[in-house]
Each structure stands twice: as structure tokens, then as C-alpha cells.
């Protein structure tokens, strides 16, 4: 804090000085977001944390506005959403922004996660930063799942039925847990009400965990594409103006793509079946979750055993928690790990294959392909990472960031 060490900061403006002396928000902002030494060699992958934050704020803003017009009762939920689309001024826009925003929030977070995995941002001393990130990811998935139930379309209802029924696979307590989730004997009004309450609550919990995530980041500073620590001021630049401007630019480009979808193809990423009001007596031919859940859905269905599938699905996220300890390599960035680099790309391809399998009915070739892809996913985390770190010969690391940047300019 400003007053406990060093010279107190000086502000020209007397009002700002007065406030800062009592609650040092201004000197905090100066330190953490102005002068903060940031590696000078960021690439555009480093924009996606800021982009994700912008999307979080956007989702909360559009969500609160939707909440002023939505009715969380099974007889009125679907119609209240249609009223928002047709009768509420600008309602169609707010709804499409929220719907498309969820997809783009996940796009930003998946790119952000890829950056972390490729460049070794999860390694010491950033293990807890990474774990906080996985917690945010889990909270996002819970929020998105409950949010999708609220319009009470066919996919809302049946997606809710399938995913809540999963928990009955847990031995002994499974059925009780499902009853507690449902508040009854099936997904019905009590379920809708509690999902609405939690969907409104969780984003604010996400905000709190994001704050912890950013505080944890600022303890040791950001990683960088070379994966080597900054050795002095020649390796860093002040966060403002270099990365305020670069992030600002990246956010703008991202928002342009987002606006393109929200205005011109808002239903492209969604499922048409959700425009049919929920019918508890008729199951749609294909129950499919939103695209960002497809890889996990494929893993769930790949295991022929009910409990096995549930364990595999949650296991796919659990391995992320322990990633810092699975990877034994002392080198952070995949730029200097020639073998691991290729396996990262194969992993991305594997996740996409899983996604395609998840989108299709589990028939024909999709079954063995999903099983192989699931096996490969766990092979990557549980076998490849621990072994590769020990046997791989990394490329020589540059002496410093400045060195590498200047050499690149000269050569």
C-alpha cells in the first residue's frame, strides 16, 4: 500500500489527493495499471484475458436488463422471452447480445486457456493463478448451463433433464442429489426458479474469483511468449500506454467479430429446437448442448458405463486442476519445446474432433472416433506430459527477453 513503504504518491489534483490518502485507489491504479512492468514481447494471445473481462461485464449488463423483463415461471418464461424479442424496446438486441455474448465469452476463455497451456503460464510460481482460472471456467460452465434453461425451450428442458440426471450415477447419494437439484420428481417450475436465482448469483461470484485471479497475476507479473522471466527494466514496458492500447485494439477487433454474429447471424451458434416451447412429454430427436460443451458431452457419451461416463467428463476438467504438477518440463514456453509444440496442436485437433462427435448422434463411426479421442485426451495429460518433460531436449533459451527481441529486429 502507498503509505506503508516508499514515498507517498503525489497527485496534482487536491480532490484525488484527499481520496487517495484515505483509500488509495488512485495510487493502486497508477501502480498496477499504469507503471506496472509488463514483458515487452507479448503477442496477441495475451489480449484474451482483457477480452474475457470485457465480455463478463457485457454479460452482466445485458443479463440484468433481461432480468427486468423475464418471468421465471414455467407457464410464462418462454412467452416473456418472446415479449422481450418483440415488444420491449431494443429487447431483441439485448437478448441477442446476451446469447451471442455467452458464445464469445467462451471463445475468449478457450483461447486464453490455450495461451496458458502453450506458453507454460501454469508453471511455478503461477500454479494458483492457473487453478483460480480453472475455477472461473467451472463457474462459467455452471452459469451458462443454467442460463440456457431459462428460455424454457425444448433444448432448455431436455438439456436440463439429461445433465441433472447425470448425478444419479453417483452411488448412495446420487438420487437424493438429483431430487435436490430438481426440487421435485422431474425438471419443473422449482428447478427453473432455483436455476434463475443461481444464474443471477454466479456471475458475481465469477467477478470475485476474477479479482483474485488478477491479484494473483500481479504478484509475480505476467508470463511471456519466451517463457523466461524479465531480468530488468530493459525487458519490460509500462502497462500503460503499451498494453492499454494493444488490449484496446484487440478488444475492438474481437467486438467487431462479436457484433457481426450478434447482428447478422445471432442464431447460427444456437439450436433451432429451443424456439419450440418445452414439452415434458416429447423428447427432441437429438439433444445437443451449446457448442462450448460439446467436447465434454462427447467424453461423457464415449464411456459405455453410466458412472464411468460421468467420472470421465468431470475428470476431463479435473486434470486441468493438476496440470502444473503433471507437466514435468523445466521449460515454460512451447516455442523451445519442439516435440511438445506438436502435441499441443494435436491436442487442439483432438478437442475439435471431440466437439464434432458431441454434435452428432452417438452412432456409426462417431462412437469409436469419440472413444479414441477421449483416450487420447487423457493420454496427453496423464502420460504424455509427465514423460515428455523428462525425455524431451528443449531448444536453448535466449539469455533475456530484450536480447531475443533485439536479435529478432537485427536479424
Amino acid at each position: 500500500m502507498a503509505s506503508s513503504h516508499g514515498t507517498p504518491p503525489v497527485f496534482n489534483n487536491k480532490v484525488i489527493s484527499w481520496i487517495d490518502h484515505r483509500l488509495p485507489i488512485f495510487s493502486y491504479m497508477e501502480k498496477e495499471y499504469h507503471h506496472f512492468p509488463t514483458p515487452r514481447n507479448f503477442n496477441y494471445f495475451w489480449n484474451f484475458g482483457a477480452i474475457a473481462t470485457v465480455m463478463l461485464v457485457l454479460m452482466i449488463a445485458t443479463g440484468v436488463v433481461l432480468a427486468t423483463n423475464y418471468t421465471p415461471h414455467v407457464t410464462m418464461a418462454f412467452d416473456s422471452v418472446e415479449r422481450i424479442m418483440r415488444d420491449v424496446p431494443s429487447g431483441w438486441l439485448i437478448r441477442y447480445l446476451h446469447m451471442t455474448g455467452a458464445s464469445f465469452f467462451f471463445i475468449a476463455v478457450y483461447v486464453h486457456i490455450f495461451r496458458g497451456m502453450y506458453y507454460g503460464s501454469y508453471k511455478s510460481p503461477r500454479e494458483l493463478l492457473w487453478i483460480l482460472g480453472v475455477i472461473i471456467f467451472l463457474l462459467m460452465m455452471a452459469t451458462a448451463f443454467m442460463g440456457y434453461v431459462l428460455p424454457w425451450g425444448q433444448m432448455s428442458f431436455w438439456g436440463a433433464t439429461v445433465i441433472t440426471s447425470l448425478f444419479s450415477a453417483i452411488p448412495v447419494v446420487g438420487d437424493s442429489i438429483v431430487t435436490w437439484l430438481w426440487g421435485g420428481f422431474a425438471v419443473d417450475n422449482p428447478t427453473l426458479n432455483r436455476f434463475y436465482a443461481l444464474h443471477y448469483l454466479l456471475p458475481f461470484i465469477i467477478v470475485a474469483v476474477v479479482a483474485l485471479h488478477v491479484v494473483a497475476l500481479h504478484v509475480h507479473g505476467s508470463n511471456n511468449p519466451l517463457g523466461i522471466d524479465p531480468k530488468g527494466p530493459q525487458d519490460t514496458v509500462p502497462f500503460h500506454p503499451y498494453y492499454t492500447m494493444k488490449d484496446g485494439f484487440g478488444v475492438m477487433v474481437f467486438l467487431i467479430v462479436y457484433a457481426g454474429f450478434a447482428f447478422f447471424a445471432p442464431n447460427y451458434l444456437g439450436d433451432a429446437a429451443n424456439y419450440i416451447p418445452a414439452n415434458p412429454l416429447v423428447t427432441p430427436t437429438h439433444i445437443v448442448p451449446e457448442w462450448y460443451f460439446l467436447p465434454f458431452y462427447a467424453i461423457l457419451r464415449a464411456i459405455p458405463n453410466k458412472l464411468g461416463g460421468v467420472i470421465a467428463m468431470f475428470g476431463a476438467i479435473a486434470v486441468l486442476f493438476v496440470l502444473p504438477w503433471l507437466d514435468t518440463s523445466r521449460v515454460r514456453s512451447a516455442s523451445f519445446r519442439p516435440i511438445y509444440k506438436w502435441f499441443m496442436f494435436i491436442l487442439v485437433a483432438d478437442v475439435i474432433v471431440l466437439g464434432v462427435c458431441g454434435a452428432n448422434p452417438p452412432e456409426g463411426w462417431y462412437v469409436p472416433i469419440a472413444q479414441v479421442a477421449t483416450l487420447y485426451y487423457f493420454f496427453h495429460f496423464l502420460i504424455l506430459l509427465p514423460v515428455l518433460g523428462k525425455i524431451e531436449r528443449p531448444l536453448p533459451l535466449p539469455p533475456s527477453i530484450a536480447d531475443a527481441v533485439l536479435k529478432k529486429k537485427a536479424g
Binding site: 427486468t68 418483440r86 415488444d87 424496446p89 439485448i94
Partner: protein, 188 residues
């Protein structure tokens, strides 16, 4: 980048950087307004609320001396078919006696500038603190001026709905209305 000499104590010529800063700032401001607009517009009344904002009343069944109350925009609308005595009493009140001076004629003119003194159409909300005054139903107390009486704090309105006694500051409000025929009136 063009080098600009900075004379002591004065402005240098605007540089390209200055232009970019101002241009970016202006675009940022326009962008912010463009994003904020739908969120604020969203607070406006929705189509279903707007649909209820106009009401058409058939006043043919209202006898001379009778009054009806119609719900309009969530509030009571008083429609009284005034007797010739009530009209005469309203006309004869001098402006100096009125807290909120308004001629009776001006209070019975529709939006097409046609005067129909026999039809008094007002919003039945007391201008003091918002109670609904009595006087529309037969047997209601009408106060000392033969119009309406507000039981909450004792405001009394005359046969033109103008405040004469009690704490209310203004006359009962007249909404914009149009007689689309002799017996059909559209309010709002």
C-alpha cells in the same frame, strides 16, 4: 513524425498525434453513446404498455348529470355529462377567485379545437398527494362547489374540476382527447 518547436509559454502547432488523440476520443464518445442507447431505450414503455395508452370511450349511455370513471394509463378518468346549471356555474366564476386560473371553456376543448361544454373529461387524481376524489358516483359528497371532494385532506373542486378550497395546488388535469364522433371520444 513532424518535429514541432514548442515556444516558451505558448502552444505548438497541432501534431499528427494530437489529431489522432482527438479523433480517437471523439469516436470513443460516439461509440459509448451508441452502446448505451439500447440499454436506456430498453427502459421505455414496451409495445404492450403503449397499446394500452390510448382508450376509446362510447359516451352515448352517459345521461345528463351522470358521470363515469374509466381506467386509462393505470389511472381513473372522470367523464361527466354536465347539466346546463353546472356549465353556467363554472362559466360565472371570476378568474381572481381561482388558485389555478383557467377558463371553463379552455378545459372542455378537444385536440381539434372543438368546444363541447357538456362533456368534462379529467384525470381523477387529486393534485395534492394523489388520492381519487369523490363525486362521480350518485350519493358521493361533491363538496361546497358542486364538483368533487377529496376525502384525504379535504380539497374541493368545482363543476369544472378547478381547485377552490383545500391544500391541492392545481386544477384536476385535462388529458388530450378527441371526439371522433358525437358519442365516441379517444383519450391519449
Amino acid at each position: 513524425m513532424a518535429t514541432a518547436s514548442i515556444p516558451a509559454g505558448g502552444h505548438s502547432d497541432p501534431t499528427r498525434r494530437d489529431f489522432l488523440m482527438v479523433a480517437t476520443g471523439a469516436m470513443g464518445a460516439i461509440g459509448t453513446i451508441a452502446v448505451a442507447w439500447p440499454f436506456i431505450n430498453n427502459l421505455n414503455p414496451a409495445a404492450d404498455t403503449l397499446a394500452l395508452s390510448t382508450v376509446e370511450v362510447n359516451v352515448a349511455p352517459v345521461q345528463v348529470g351522470q358521470a363515469i370513471t374509466v381506467k386509462w394509463r393505470g389511472k381513473p378518468l372522470f367523464i361527466r355529462h354536465r347539466t346546463p346549471e353546472e356549465i353556467k356555474a363554472a362559466d360565472e366564476v371570476p378568474m381572481s377567485e381561482l388558485r389555478d386560473p383557467q377558463t371553463d371553456n379552455s378545459r372542455v376543448t378537444d385536440t381539434a379545437k372543438k368546444v363541447r361544454p357538456e362533456w368534462l373529461i379529467m384525470i381523477g387524481v387529486c393534485t395534492h398527494l394523489g388520492c381519487v376524489p369523490l363525486g362521480n358516483n350518485p350519493g358521493d359528497p361533491k363538496g361546497e362547489y358542486g364538483g368533487w371532494f377529496c376525502p384525504c385532506h379535504g380539497s374541493m373542486y368545482d363543476t369544472s374540476g378547478r381547485i377552490r378550497k383545500g391544500p391541492a395546488p392545481l386544477n384536476l388535469a385535462i388529458p388530450g382527447y378527441l371526439f371522433t364522433s358525437d358519442t365516441l371520444v379517444r383519450v391519449g
